[in-house]
Amino acid sequence: MRSADIAVAVFLGISVVSTGICCSALLLFRDLFQRLHYLSVVTTVSTFTLLVAVVIKEGAGQATMKAILSFIVLLLINAVLSHATARAARVREFGQWTPTPEEHIEGAEDVKPGK
C-alpha cells in the first residue's frame, strides 16, 4: 500500500467519522441552536477532508475541479442556511429576530426592534 493510499484512507475516515458524530449530535442535543452548530462542522471539516482525499487520489483534473466547486458551494450555502434557520427559529419563538426588551445582550443596545 502506497503512502498516498494511506493518506486517502485516513482523510476519508476522518470525513465519515466526523459526519457520523455530527449527525448523532442532532439527536443528542435538545436545543435547536446547539444542534445548528453541527451543520457547520459537517460542511467545513467533513467536506474539506473529503476534498483532500479526492485531490490526493485524482491529482489535477476534472474530478478535483468539481470536488473543489462542490466544497465551495457547500461552504457558502451553509453560512446562508444556518443564518436563515437561526433567524427563522428566533422569529417563531419571539416574533422578531432582534433582541427583545427583556433580553440584555451586551453590545446590542442600539439594535432597534423589528422583524
Binding site: 493510499d5 486517502v8 484512507a9 476519508l12 475516515g13 470525513s15 465519515v16 459526519t19 457520523g20 455530527c22 449527525c23 448523532s24 442532532l26 439527536l27 435547536l32 444542534r35 445548528l36 453541527y38 451543520l39 459537517v42 460542511t43 467533513s46 467536506t47 473529503l50 479526492v54 487520489k57 485524482e58 483534473g61 476534472q62 474530478a63 468539481k66 470536488a67 466547486l69 462542490s70 458551494v73 457547500l74 450555502i77 451553509n78 446562508v80 442556511l81 436563515a84 434557520t85 433567524r87 427563522a88 427559529a89 422569529v91 417563531r92
Partner: protein, 83 residues
Amino acid sequence: MNLWMIASIGFLMCMIPCGIAAFRGSPMERLLGLEMGGIVVTMFLLVMAEALGRPNFYDIGLTMALLAFGGGLVFTRFLERWL
C-alpha cells in the same frame, strides 16, 4: 469493494440519525434533520462518483448541493412566516 465504496456506506449510515431527527421534535428541529441530510447526501454522491470511477457523476453531487440549499431555504422562509 474499494475504500470509496466503504466510505459511501458510512455516509449512508449517517443518514439514519438525520432521518430520525427529521421525524421528531418541533418543525424547526425537523428542518435541521432535512438540512443535515442534504449535506450528507451531497457527500455520499461525491464519494460514489469516485467509487464508480466516473468523474462526470460529480455533477450530480454539485446539483444536489444547490437543490438542498434551495429546498432548505424555502422551508425556512415558510416556517418563519406562515407555518
